[in-house]
């Protein structure tokens, strides 16, 4: 029997929810003070995911970096791998918000999209 503690981020209360498991099965869950907390804890336990906000190097742009984010949450365990993958990429200006800069990163089905417009250096 294992116990897992998860802090719910649904509201400022930050309730500590405890999930008890036997093997793969959840045998008990308590500590939440609202239904959001219960759902959040179960999802967070089964498959924690995160949106990854970072930057990508830019070539020929008015700025050396373009801020990006994953268009949807990706598995928490993929964050460092994703950062490694992104570190080796360079994109060319001009870039528009929403441009898909990396498709389906690490086969997660999630794209990495630009969150800022970057003009060409020569056009500034």
């Amino acid at each position: 029997m294992e116990e897992h503690d998860i802090i719910c981020t649904g509201c400022p209360k930050g309730c500590q929810v405890t999930i008890k498991t036997e093997g793969d099965k959840i045998t008990d869950i308590y500590g939440y003070e609202c239904p959001t907390g219960k759902e959040y804890a179960i999802n967070e336990f089964k498959n924690p995911t995160r949106i990854l906000p970072t930057t990508v190097k830019v070539e020929g742009g008015e700025f050396p970096l373009v801020p990006v984010k994953t268009a949807a949450p990706i598995p928490k365990s993929d964050l460092i791998k994703a950062m490694n993958f992104i570190a080796e990429k360079t994109v060319k200006a001009p870039i528009e918000i929403g441009d898909i800069l990396i498709e389906n990163i690490l086969n997660t089905g999630v794209d990495v999209v630009a969150t800022r417009n970057i003009k060409k250096e020569s056009e500034v």
Binding site: T9, G14, E33, I80
Partner: protein, 427 residues
């Protein structure tokens, strides 16, 4: 000298929203003065999520949020002068600014919107003794280097302050390959969002040391190590708890100070709790026709409310220009009473016309659960709101319906009290 109906100082979220709202209300002679090369203020470097949930109903990153307003500014044809630093404003609303190509600008404004934002508290201000090496910088400046300029300011990082900026930068530095050793917080609780604590620290096993501070800095050329100490309830270092931690970088996230040098130049007094000027419900300062909104008025947690507040200022400035305002016979003082640090606005001065309610922004002194926010007049309760939980790190807004405000009222008090008879604590 040029003349403008409205001059907005700062093209951050407050300035942009105020200008747009004024434009929507019929003002066509607006100029925004911005010191940086680009618009958006601090938002372009806030590359993380969490902006816009309230205002747009979507979760956006900082640059995306800024872009929404920038597009509208462009469409509305509002003039923006970048790389322009406002250096002085006098009581006659004469603005002195410096621009690279145009040189010294003298602008006479009919209305001014102060939207200069804030700066960060420094190591020197909190007087951490020791050496003065390279490697000590504010979290915001580190954020600028990391997200805009393209550099990593540190490899082995300690962070002082667990507000959102400190937490966000902990994650950011970690993701960019630095070793983030710990985040220290002098209070017994973190003032950042729970989500940030989980996603910035817990996710990466970065320890949060509450009731800790830094008591000495060592490093003749580059930072070598910091001495951390546990503190007691009066924030004094406890003897014997001192520990040295090796690091090459110290990021400070120890508070934001509204940037009010220009307000002081106009002889406007600053409120001791907000650090900003005093305003009425229109965000109008003690100088008629001069408005303040956003972080320069009081430090916000949610940019969504900065935009809302800026719209109040922009709309009111437009009403002023359109001569569409009527003052009450007597102003109503809004007094923060029990457990509140401050309210914005501090008074109500105008007749309501078609306003339905006045939104009051406030901050509580300490974390409290199961509370009532009470408006009272002459000791009698006018209205109360229930809240499950309130914290100093999260600004609260409450609506005061104008229907409850009588003509002869001179003071309305606001309090936060724990609900009597309710069990506190967790189930």
């Amino acid at each position: 000298m040029t003349k403008h109906k409205m001059v907005v100082v700062g093209a951050g979220p407050a300035g942009l929203a105020a200008a747009l709202e004024a434009s929507k209300n019929g003002i066509d002679d607006i100029i925004i003065l911005e010191r940086d090369k680009y618009l958006g203020g601090i938002l372009p470097q806030c590359i993380h999520n969490g902006f816009g949930l309230e205002y747009f109903g979507e979760e956006l990153t900082g640059p995306e949020y800024a872009d929404r307003f920038m597009r509208d500014i462009d469409q509305a044809g509002i003039e923006v002068l970048t790389e322009t630093m406002v250096l002085n404003i006098n009581q006659d609303k004469l603005i002195t600014a410096l621009n690279k190509t145009k040189g010294v600008l003298k602008i006479k404004a009919e209305t001014i919107i102060l939207a200069m934002g804030c700066r960060e508290r420094t190591r020197e201000k909190i007087q951490i003794p020791g050496d003065r090496p390279a490697g000590i910088l504010s979290a915001g400046t580190a954020q600028r280097y990391t997200n805009i300029e393209g550099f990593i300011p540190g490899k082995e990082v300690m962070i002082l302050g667990s507000g959102d900026i400190g937490l966000i930068m902990a994650r950011r530095m970690k993701l960019e390959g630095a070793d983030v050793k710990a985040v220290l917080e002098i209070m017994p609780f973190s003032s950042g969002l729970v989500r940030n604590k989980v996603q910035c620290l817990d996710d990466f096993d970065i320890p949060l040391k509450l009731q800790h501070t830094i008591t000495r800095i060592e490093g003749k050329k580059r930072l070598k190590r910091v001495e951390i100490s546990k503190v007691d309830k009066d924030f004094n270092p406890i003897k014997g708890t001192q520990k040295w931690i090796n690091c090459d970088t110290l990021l400070l996230s120890v508070g934001l100070i509204p940037e009010n040098e220009l307000s002081k130049a106009m002889n406007l007094k600053l409120h001791p709790a907000t650090g900003g000027v005093y305003v009425n419900e229109n965000r109008e300062t003690e100088l008629k026709g001069v408005y303040a909104c956003g972080n320069v008025l009081h430090v916000h947690d949610l940019v969504d409310w900065v935009s809302e507040e800026a719209e109040i200022a922009g709309r009111s400035a437009a009403e002023y220009l359109n001569k569409n305002q009527e003052k009450r016979d007597l102003p109503i003082k809004i007094t923060p009473n029990k457990n509140l640090t401050y309210t914005v606005p501090q008074k109500i001065e105008y007749k309501f016309k078609d306003k339905k309610f006045i939104k009051i922004y406030l901050r509580v002194e300490k974390p409290m659960e199961n509370v009532k926010i009470v408006f009272s007049h002459n000791e009698k309760s006018m209205l109360s709101y229930d809240k499950k939980i309130v914290m100093p790190g999260e600004m609260v807004t409450v609506n005061l319906p104008v229907a409850l405000i009588k003509n002869n009222m001179e003071e309305i008090k606001l309090s936060i009290v724990e609900k009597v008879g309710e069990k506190n604590g967790r189930t």
